[in-house]
């Protein structure tokens, strides 16, 4: 191959920077347009939210990189490997989307996702996330307190618990073709836990619309409980008088309690919960009671035997 020396190249041969920059811009635009065409209409994934309030709940710890938050997920509806959701959640259609809110409420309603997005000012909250598998992250979520939504349906005096149900559709969620869990995924909270301001109805992360693999278009985040308590891709919220059945509790009643509050003193029967590995760090760190939110939530469990109600 013949390689010209710098002195051999006449200035007129060099492509002016405006020309190649312009060409690159065109290629980027074309690539972006074709990618957008594949996405469902409405809010495109990775779209930025215009105005976010910096919420009151922002821990002062370094957020886990976006790449890790969106490629290391437990979302069995798309497969049991951590990498599966990022690879396979493209089949989830997040528009149109509606959430039925019913049960022990004065005004049962079905909310379109567009309505929920405008219901209350969106906040960015930086929370710790502790998985029951003893790893953890720090995630800047976008959303507002679940209480805002629940207030609108006027829970009655019989509403003691709240049940969350994830979408059931094996065509969109290929993991549901297997029987690893009892589909649809269901989770639950006590009403006071659900009404607690920390419990976040979540529609985004890192200032963007929630990526499918993180539970799009709408999920909850309960930062003082193990991650599996925070149901994803929710289609129904039902207020009940009795404690609802929950998926992981059915799968392993001795391993996954209804409460599942983060607790370094109560080990999982098969592994220790005393320490955790923060994703991106080498040394393990001690796990904090209620995942560091004891000040805000410990009083919800005053007088309860947390070894028994794990």
């Amino acid at each position: 191959m013949l390689i010209k020396k710098a002195s051999d190249i006449r200035p007129s041969e060099i492509t002016p920077s405006e020309v190649f920059r312009d060409r690159r811009r065109w290629l980027q635009l074309a690539a972006g347009a074709s990618a957008l065409a594949l996405l469902p209409r409405g809010l495109a994934a990775a779209e930025k939210f215009a105005d976010l309030n910096p919420g009151a709940y922002r821990i002062d710890e370094k957020p886990t990189p976006y790449e890790s938050v969106t490629t290391y997920n437990n979302f069995y509806e798309f497969g049991t490997d951590k990498e599966d959701p990022a690879k396979r959640a493209g089949s989830l259609r997040t528009r149109p989307w509606a959430v039925v809110v019913d049960g022990a409420v004065g005004k049962p309603r079905t909310f379109a996702i567009e309505e929920i997005l405008k219901m209350a000012p969106l906040e960015e909250r930086i929370y710790r996330l502790r998985c029951v598998e003893a790893w953890s992250m720090v995630v800047p979520w976008v959303g507002f307190s679940l209480a805002e939504l629940l207030k609108r349906v006027e829970p009655t005096g019989r509403a003691k618990f709240v049940e969350f149900t994830t979408l059931l559709d094996p065509t969109q969620m290929p993991g549901q073709r297997g029987t690893v869990l009892d589909w649809p995924y269901r989770e639950g909270l006590r009403i006071d836990e659900a009404m607690h301001p920390l419990t976040l109805l979540t529609v985004g992360l890192y200032g963007e619309v929630l990526p499918n693999q993180n539970g799009a278009p709408i999920r909850i985040v309960v930062p003082w409980k193990y991650g599996f308590k925070s149901a994803k891709s929710i289609v129904r919220i039902r207020l009940t008088e009795t404690q609802p059945e929950t998926t992981w509790n059915l799968a392993g009643p001795k391993e996954y309690g209804f409460y599942s509050n983060v607790n370094p003193d109560v080990d999982h029967p098969r592994w220790s919960q005393a320490k955790e590995r923060r994703i991106g760090e080498f040394f393990k760190r001690p796990t904090l009671p209620f995942n560091g939110y004891a000040e805000q939530v410990a009083q919800l469990y005053a007088g309860m035997d947390l070894q028994r109600y794990f």
Binding site: T64, Y76, K82, E133, V180, D267, R270, S272, R277, F282
Partner: protein
């Protein structure tokens, strides 16, 4: 070429090929590690990968004797020691990953794990049992133990393989597909041995050749 008795050069190249192929999983792991491609939780990935390959090599080692006898290719037996040592090699990497990268020499925590967590108890036991097998894999050790003693000791590999499968099954949260596949493989390989032993016992052995065969066998690890 006669497959039941190929030329020596063929067996030598087969051994070289198996040796190189056995290093590929490690090479890929190192390559991914250097390229920062082990995902969000690299330590977990290394632990899972080395553990998976340990079970794989244990199963393949156990498959040598059935394959040798079913195909009638005695030379396959010459690959067995190397495959068994690779099982130990990946098991050692797996253990070191846990010991150094995951726990970072936290003796207290490791001790508690071994005592309190059944999957670690059984996994650690399996690893410890592998050590005498690796240590007695040399020709010299085989001679010192004698064919019979060596064979008896190396029957431990059946226990180790079973323990390895249980270790895998007990650590997964819910999806036991892979542990089941390994479980079936190991069960089939051990089952074949049971059936083979029964049919051999039923068949009367011509007496005069038996002592001769035993003598010949003492030089190299015989199949069982």
């Amino acid at each position: 070429m006669r497959w039941n008795q190929p030329p020596l050069a063929f067996v030598a190249s087969a051994r070289l090929a198996v040796f190189s192929a056995s290093l590929v999983p490690l090479a890929l792991l190192v390559h991914k590690g250097l390229g920062d491609a082990l995902g969000a939780n690299p330590i977990e990935k290394i632990t899972r990968t080395t553990g998976w390959w340990t079970l794989f090599f244990l199963a393949v080692t156990l498959a040598v004797t059935p394959a040798r006898k079913l195909a009638g290719w005695p030379w396959l037996g010459r690959l067995r020691r190397m495959l068994g040592l690779f099982a130990f090699f990946y098991g050692l990497l797996h253990f070191l990953t846990y010991f150094v990268l995951d726990q970072f020499f936290d003796w207290m925590s490791i001790g508690k794990d071994i005592l309190k967590r059944p999957y670690i108890t059984i996994g650690f036991t399996a690893f410890v049992l592998l050590i005498p097998l690796a240590a007695t894999s040399t020709d010299g050790m085989i001679r010192r133990l004698g064919g019979k003693g060596w064979r008896r000791l190396h029957k431990l590999v059946y226990v180790i393989a079973g323990a390895g499968v249980l270790h895998f099954a007990w650590l997964v949260k819910k999806d036991i597909t892979e542990p089941l596949i390994f479980g079936f493989a190991v069960a089939a390989l051990l089952g074949w041995r049971a059936v083979d032993a029964c049919s051999n016992a039923a068949r009367p052995t011509p007496n005069p050749t038996a002592p001769l065969a035993r003598k010949r066998r003492q030089a190299s690890p015989p199949g069982s």
